[in-house]
Every structure is written in C-alpha cells, then in structure tokens.
Amino acid sequence: MKKVLFVSYKPAMGTIWINETFRTTFGMYGEDIEPAILLMDDSVIGLNKDYAPEKMGFLPIKTVHRYIKRYETEIYAVKEDIEERKVEIGEDWNIKLISKEDLSDFVHEFDFVIFM
C-alpha cells in the first residue's frame, strides 16, 4: 500500500487549498493508498478551535472531523508554524506535531508527497 502525504501550506481562509486537501484525501479512501495530511505555514490556521470553513462554502468542519475519525487519517502539523500563529487547536482534532528540523526525515517516510 502506497503512503501518500498531502501537504497544505496556503492560507486556510481565502484560498481553497486546505479544503481541497481534505477532499483529495477523502477521495483516496477505498483506493490502495494510505493518505495522510500535513498542515504547514498559513494552513495551520485551519486547526483553530473556532475555524468555520462552512461560512465560506467549504466542507463543514464537522464533516471533515467525521471522515478523519472514521478512516483514522493521520493529521500532522508543523509545531513552529502553530506557535508563530498563536493557533489554539480545536478539541476535535488529534494532531501530531512535527518540528521543522524533523520534517526532512518525516517526509522521506512517504512514497509520494504532494504539495497542494
């Protein structure tokens, strides 16, 4: 089974890319692929507890949480990016933090790393 990491780095609000990262990941379920997500740079803002993408017409955050829980998708985020942006991570998330210095080793664990 191929391991694929989808990386979202563009701002969580005002661009479609974090939403597309979730949608693309959900589209991988049922394929012979194990998808995971890495949020970095301004995409980590999408982890804020009061983040409400549905107000912009994106996938409701509750739907995102439901799929991620059901299919046990791993969500990673860059620790320094979260601290820099004073993000308060919502309780429904189960985020694994990766520090910048460990990123190189981390991405080398995957077969395909796709920057969205």
Partner: protein, 93 residues
Amino acid sequence: MMIIVKYPPSHSISLEKIKLAKSGDVIALLQDGVLYALDEKLITELKNKGIEVKALKDDFVCRGYSEEESFADLIGYDEFIDLTVEKGEKVIG
C-alpha cells in the same frame, strides 16, 4: 527521493521543499524553479551534502540565460524522463 521544484525563489514553499532534501536525493528544477540554478551558494551547499541538482535546460534557456550561468546540471527532457524512472520511486511534488 526526487524533489520537483516548479516555483521561483520568491515563492516561499519552494525553498521549504529544497530544505527537505537529504543525501542521495535529486532535486529537479522545472519551470520557474530553474531560477534556483543561478544561486551558486545554495547549489554548492546542496551538492556538498550529496544532493544532486538538475535543471531543465529548455526552461532555463528560454528565460534568457546562457547555459554557462547555471550552477545546476542542465538536462534535456529525455534525461528528465530517465531521471524520473530511476529516482521517481518516491517523489515530493
């Protein structure tokens, strides 16, 4: 691992991708990513770490640069395909 860089230095994520490279990896500079080939310091640092850096000749030359100005190894499309087959088992794109 093969790391494909398509965005120019002004696009912050492309440098973050380059920083992910480890010894034994190859960085392929395409489209506006070829502008990194002008950066002697960066390319030299990468090569010293055992990281290959290739740039698409057509993309480099059509942006008005002469081949001598590149510090990365310039390759044609055929070589890029061979590189993808050889190193493309794992990709950062």
